[in-house]
């Protein structure tokens, strides 16, 4: 982190370590319009799947006392529409775009990526293995190191673009899955994703989310991410992209110190669309001010 502060990731140099997390920045288009991409090294797109997905029934966002539950259900227009409409527009982004890819079967991942290879726009991919594996009864792909390795190998075999495997903190062992991703040829792992969470109204006994459980995010989860980043970066030699709990410049510096190569900002972006600029600026002041 020498002045003039640079972070190298996937052979590119960036002046910021901040990535905009999947699902919280769309394809970066709305942020670009407002000039809010300053400070972001790259945008990670919302999940793209083979077929269009409506997503889960609303409400999809529910607040808890100290965090946020979401149940978006990977709503997206499908890879065709992404290729036809969104990627051409995203060609104008002032920073690279990483496409987050999700699937219902192991084969979905290479299938989506094969299509995305047709476009010159993607800088790389983020393979979201936190989603439920329909064939395995809904257990996340990421829970099984064997499946993580298989998906990684498949993706590697059809694309020369770099990709990160986005692991789940909810099932299995994140360290074993990270090792499996590396083994399969992944160029990074993303650690991690939302934690399984739920809210129940004790008066009615009902959960506001129709599927009961959702993905929980909160600045209070930062120490969980720090631990997992530390452990996976110790156990692998590929870059670790931290994701979870960042809302201050100190949080970014802490995750970098724990072993992260780059740091994602997700939920906080919903609140502060210009978070990348704000956080990067205050991070630089902290670095300048430090002895």
């Amino acid at each position: 982190m020498d002045k003039p502060y640079k972070w190298t990731f996937w052979k590119r140099e960036f002046t910021s370590p901040i990535l905009l997390a999947s699902g919280t920045a769309g394809f970066g288009l709305e942020l670009m319009e407002q000039g809010f991409l300053t400070g972001a090294a790259a945008v990670i797109s919302k999940a793209t799947t083979l077929a269009p997905r409506e997503g889960n029934p609303p409400p999809r966002i529910v607040e808890t006392r100290f965090g946020l539950l979401n149940s978006i259900g990977l709503a997206n227009p499908g890879v065709d529409e992404v290729l036809d409409t969104l990627l051409p527009q995203a060609a104008c982004l002032p920073c690279p775009l990483i496409i987050n890819v999700a699937g219902e079967t192991v084969e979905d991942f290479p299938a989506v990526i094969e299509r995305l290879e047709e476009s010159p726009v993607p800088f790389g991919y983020e393979v979201n293995v936190s989603c439920p594996n329909v064939a395995a009864g809904g257990i996340a792909f990421g829970a099984s190191p064997e499946i993580v390795e298989r998906i990684s190998t498949l993706v590697k075999s059809i694309s020369s673009r770099p990709f990160s495997v986005k692991l789940t903190p909810n099932e299995g062992s994140i360290v074993e899955s990270a090792k499996a991703a590396e083994e399969g040829g992944a160029d990074a792992v993303t650690v991690c994703n939302t934690f399984l969470g739920m809210k129940v109204d004790w008066r009615t006994g009902k959960a506001p989310l129709k599927r009961n459980v959702g993905g929980y995010s909160s600045p209070a989860l930062l120490p969980l991410t720090v631990a997992r980043v530390f452990k996976t970066s110790e156990a692998t030699s590929i870059p670790v992209l931290a994701s979870g709990g960042v809302n201050r410049a100190e949080d970014i510096l802490e995750l970098l110190a724990a072993g992260a190569a780059m740091v994602q900002v997700g939920t906080w972006l919903l609140r502060r669309p210009d978070a990348a600029r704000e956080l990067r600026e205050s991070m630089i002041s902290l670095l300048e001010g430090s002895p």
């Binding site: 709305e30 409506e54 997503g55 409400p59 999809r60 966002i61 100290f66 979401n70």
Partner: protein
């Protein structure tokens, strides 16, 4: 920064914010702002409020304290600075001709700006009681309340029987979902086609990125309240599915 705050009805507040640049004056009625209610990270998301009226240097909202975020806002004093994002979304399509405005409870919060912009011929306002009834100046208003404390006693749908739907070229409708659905169900088909509704949904971002604010779309799928709306043609919404959400 909050420059004025007033409790206009019990638990209902009008807050006027100073805004640095005059871009709000351009905001068409029906657009909204996202307010950061606390300096803490909690609650995590901003809270959306319809722009009630605007001037060169200010924007006003009218809201009811119903929970945590609005509760914090209700305590905020003039002089307090809050981050404000907006104007967001797309508002009413401002067609010429006579307008009918139908509002239920706080649903009328956005009507002052609209009434000042279009040719508003009639305003129907319903609420549970006078305590919850907003007044909108300089417009012919007929009110109805469930307890009869203002205007007729009954539901807003009771006022619809006498409406000459053909007299209007645009209708604006805003209120709780069941109220809006009841109104829509009573309308002649032609009136439905000229009705625009102002929708509400729990929001994540407010600017189109998170897919959090879904409103069921007629014919399947979802609309994004924040960027496809919050004002929608009544016909674009799947009212059955929408009512089922709550």
């Amino acid at each position: 920064m909050i420059i004025e705050k007033e409790e206009i009805l019990p638990g209902v507040y009008r807050i006027k914010f100073e805004v640095p640049a005059p871009y709000f004056i351009e905001a068409q009625p029906g657009r909204f702002i996202q307010l950061e209610v606390s300096h803490d990270p909690f609650p995590v998301t901003r809270r959306p409020f319809t722009i009630s009226s605007v001037s060169e240097s200010s924007v006003e909202i009218v809201f009811e304290a119903v929970g945590r975020g609005t509760g914090i806002l209700a305590e905020a004093d003039a002089g307090r600075s809050l981050r404000l994002l907006g104007p967001l979304g797309s508002g009413y399509r401002l067609d010429p001709g006579k307008w009918l405005l139908i509002g239920g409870g706080l649903g009328a919060a956005g009507f002052p700006g609209l009434a000042a912009t279009v040719e508003c011929d009639l305003l129907l306002l319903g609420a549970s009681s006078q305590d919850k009834l907003l007044t909108i100046r300089e417009t012919e208003t007929v009110t109805i309340t469930e307890d009869g404390s203002s205007g007729r006693k009954g539901l807003i749908t009771d006022l619809l029987e006498t409406v000459h739907w053909e007299a209007f070229s645009s209708i604006a409708l805003c209120g709780p979902i069941p109220m809006m659905k009841a109104v829509i169900d009573m309308m002649p088909v032609a009136a439905r086609a000229i009705t625009q509704v102002s929708a509400e949904a729990r929001m994540g971002c407010g600017w189109g990125a998170c897919e959090g604010c879904s409103v069921p779309k007629a014919g399947g799928g979802f609309l994004k309240c924040c960027s496809d709306g919050p004002v929608f043609p009544a016909d674009s919404i799947d009212w059955e599915r929408w009512e089922g959400i709550h």
